[in-house]
């Protein structure tokens, strides 16, 4: 059995967290609020009942374990990916809306990059496949952050950095509740200029998601991105998913797949 690198474990944990976050959205619910696609043609509400849900969850866990320990890795990885996609489809049918919950999206995209790399370099060495997968994952995850900035800019332009809007959100979430986080939110709410500066830095970090693909800037950018996610959670109560943080840290400090000897020589040379 090949020993899985820390990055592979982190990705597996993140995928599991993403799947767990979907539980309440996909089982034990009263039908579909917004059936779509295949659900318009077939009765798929059956999948929200406990029996098929347990079977599919067990399948997910088996595939995830096989992927983590590199047993039939490619097939297991695609199995995990497709099951996440299927559950995301069921989730949207159940609760409506167009945007899935984000907890699993970043791990799923990282996995997608890894699998695409292996697919594109099929027949080459394991190291070569994993190197492509790792780099594709870096590019795709960086693009996600850039897309998030583009969404903000597209929705509100520069108005997204208006500190008063963010200060109001923090005040709403800080008043009438107790705890250190609430006190910090209230403190920030009285400083709209500071809120505006943080909002501007958020856009800056997200727009520069492409820095993830460069070795020289990768770790500094990940530190900034993780700080951003933690800040969002503390101050506004949204944004931080441990699954995202795990994947980002793994991308910067570990690998999802095989050790690349050429990377080591570069590190040694540096």
């Amino acid at each position: 059995m090949t020993r899985a690198p820390a990055g592979r474990w982190a990705l597996a944990m993140a995928l599991l967290m993403g799947r767990v976050a979907q539980i309440g959205l996909t089982v034990g619910r009263d039908g579909f609020a917004s059936p779509r696609g295949l659900a318009l043609w077939m009765d798929l509400e059956f999948f929200t009942t406990p029996a098929p849900w347990i079977v599919m969850s067990a399948g997910f866990l088996v595939a995830l374990l096989a992927f983590t320990f590199r047993k039939q890795e490619t097939m297991a990885g695609w199995g995990v990916f497709l099951l996440l996609g299927w559950v995301t489809f069921i989730e949207l049918c159940v609760r409506g809306g167009e945007v899935p919950t984000h907890a699993k999206m970043l791990p799923a995209v990282a996995l997608f990059g890894l699998l695409m790399g292996r697919l594109l370099r099929r027949g080459r060495t394991e190291v070569e496949q994993d190197r492509w997968g790792q780099e594709l994952a870096l590019g795709m995850v960086g693009a996600m952050f850039c897309l998030s900035a583009l969404s903000k800019w597209g929705a509100m332009g520069g108005g997204w950095t208006d500190g008063r809007v963010h200060a109001l959100l923090m005040y709403e979430r800080g008043v009438g509740v107790s705890g250190l986080g609430a006190e910090l939110r209230l403190w920030m709410a009285h400083r709209p200029d500071l809120c505006g500066a943080l909002a501007t830095s958020t856009l800056l970090v997200e727009f520069t998601g492409f820095l993830l693909i460069f070795r020289a800037t990768r770790r500094a950018w990940v530190i900034a991105a993780v700080s951003l996610l933690i800040g969002f959670q503390v101050l506004v109560g949204v944004g931080m998913n441990l699954s995202w943080i795990l994947v980002l840290l793994a991308l910067a400090w570990s690998r999802f797949g095989s050790h690349d000897p050429s990377d080591q020589s570069e590190v040694a040379a540096a």
Partner: protein, 138 residues
């Protein structure tokens, strides 16, 4: 010899960015629109529980009587983004047990108007929605 420029990573970046912009929310592609459109609100309202004239966290109320939480609705003409707090209060009242011993205090439940200025938040009027009685958790 590998190129100094990360061609594969750049390719992944461009392909994912382009595909997401083209197809939108189609797993695994997404534009991550969460928390994007804040709509520029600088006026809002929050749910307030006023026990015997003093604002208290609604969750600190041990028992509530005379309030119909299902009929509590925020003011329509004012932005309200804290629906989950209202849901929590409704659930809290619905699942509460029998009233405890001791004295009940007068309770007003309503909505506090807020305006955010460049100096910070300022409270406007408190608009009571319902009145009842409540017992504070010791």
């Amino acid at each position: 010899m590998k190129s100094a420029f990360p061609v594969i990573g750049a390719g992944g970046f461009i392909v994912y960015l382009t595909m997401s912009l083209l197809v939108g929310e189609w797993f695994p592609f997404t534009r991550l629109p969460m928390y994007s459109d804040l709509q520029g609100y600088v006026e809002s309202q929050i749910l307030v529980c006023r026990l015997d004239g003093e604002d208290v966290p609604c969750e600190s109320l041990g028992h509530v009587a005379g309030i119909s939480p299902g009929e509590l609705e925020p003011l329509k003409e004012r932005h309200f983004s804290m629906g989950y707090r209202l849901q929590e209060f409704r659930a809290q009242v619905e699942r509460q047990g029998p009233p405890p011993r001791g004295e009940f205090l007068p309770l007003e439940v309503g909505f506090q108007l807020i305006e955010m200025t460049s100096e910070g938040p300022t409270n406007g009027a408190f608009v009571p929605a319902q009145t009842g009685r409540a017992w504070r958790t010791p």
